[in-house]
């Protein structure tokens, strides 16, 4: 056994455990299946291996060995492709699809979490080698803390105010507050919609939020999350019963119409508030220097 055996084993363990910690099955119900988890733990183990051997190779002055970290980059880009493809394939069979923006967000998270594993392993092994096992442990805890901070994104409640509004009909037009949702012709369908439907108004807190929640992917994510959490009153042969989110063009408010199986207003508001703000949907028009040169 060389002097690096224990630090490398330590780094491997720290990295793999971080990946397991980050692989929580939460309300998104993904990945629920055992094989999906095994794939990600195995890839996490590989990532931990890549991260952990980088420090000993530098210490042995084998600088070229660090170039295999580039291998990691292409390897984990594949992970992102894999997740994207799987979720896109499955999305067509969802009652309320996730939407491409949400899927891309999940895929990015899977890729980036492997880099966080590399980072954790690298830092743990460095701590172990420079100080001792306690130094390594401290470095690992610090790295996990930073990973946790980096992996949690924003929530909708930070950018919007959610308010419950009973949906109503004006002729054949379905409205949530003053926002037109859709035209439903049949009286019996209208009754069903009024019985099971719930309406919410999302009021943006600032101008940036207005553009973010206008994103169609972000709106689809809201509908998907509410429908997974509270169930959905819908089947494949009933296209009229569809949750929709439409926008008030005047002030950027979003009218969300959902058909949950459990009609619990407080719960639904909490769920909408906890919907992640998708990275790809975030817009910052106020960052633009309108009075700068060339504009």
């Amino acid at each position: 056994m060389s002097e690096y055996t224990y630090p490398i084993l330590f780094g491997l363990a720290a990295g793999t455990l971080t990946r397991i910690y980050m692989l929580r099955t939460d309300y998104r119900q993904y990945p629920t299946y055992l094989h999906g988890k095994i794939i990600h733990v195995a890839l996490g183990f590989i990532a931990a291996g890549l991260g952990t051997v980088a420090i000993p190779s530098i210490m042995e002055e084998e600088f070229t060995a660090v170039t295999f970290l580039t291998l990691a980059a292409s390897q984990f880009r594949e992970v992102r492709n894999m997740e994207r493809n799987t979720l896109t394939e499955l999305d067509s069979y969802e009652m309320v699809p996730r939407g491409k923006t949400y899927i891309e967000g999940v895929a990015i998270a899977f890729e980036s979490r492997n880099y966080l594993v590399i980072f954790t392993s690298l830092l743990s092994t460095l701590g172990y080698l420079v100080f001792n096992i306690w130094g390594g442990l401290a470095a690992a805890i610090l790295a996990v803390f930073i990973s946790k901070k980096l992996m949690s994104g924003g929530r909708l409640k930070e950018i919007v105010e959610v308010e419950f509004v009973e949906p109503r009909f004006d002729g054949a037009g379905l409205y949530v507050d003053n926002i037109y949702i859709m035209n439903i012709g049949l009286p019996e369908r209208q009754e069903e919609v009024l019985r099971y439907g719930m309406g919410f108004i999302l009021k943006p807190k600032n101008f940036n939020a207005r553009s973010t929640i206008a994103n169609l992917g972000q709106r689809q994510a809201i509908l998907h999350d509410v429908s997974t959490a509270l169930g959905v009153y819908r089947d494949s042969g009933t296209p009229a019963l569809v949750p929709l989110a439409k926008r008030d063009l005047d002030d950027g408010r979003i009218g969300v119409f959902v058909l949950p199986q459990e009609k619990n207003i407080n719960k639904a508001i909490k769920i909408i508030e906890a919907v992640p703000t998708l990275e790809n949907a975030i817009r910052m028009p106020t960052e633009r220097q309108t009075n700068g040169k060339g504009s």
Partner: protein
């Protein structure tokens, strides 16, 4: 072939208002129109939209 935003059928009680270029179902009264629209909605997997009181269309979204 995938159809999107396409009028699959029209159901009406007013023969003078019939659109051309699509399948039209003439009905005696509003009740019959609603029954036919409900059936067609299920069969065609489209949504029955009310354009006026006497004209419904089934649209594939």
């Amino acid at each position: 072939m995938v159809l999107e935003k396409f009028i699959l059928a029209a159901i009406t009680t007013n023969p003078s208002k019939i659109p051309s270029g699509t399948a039209v179902f003439h009905c005696e009264d509003k009740k019959e129109m609603e029954i036919i629209a409900a059936n067609l909605e299920a069969i065609l997997d489209g949504i029955a939209h009310a354009l006026t009181e006497e004209l419904y269309v089934i649209v594939k979204h």
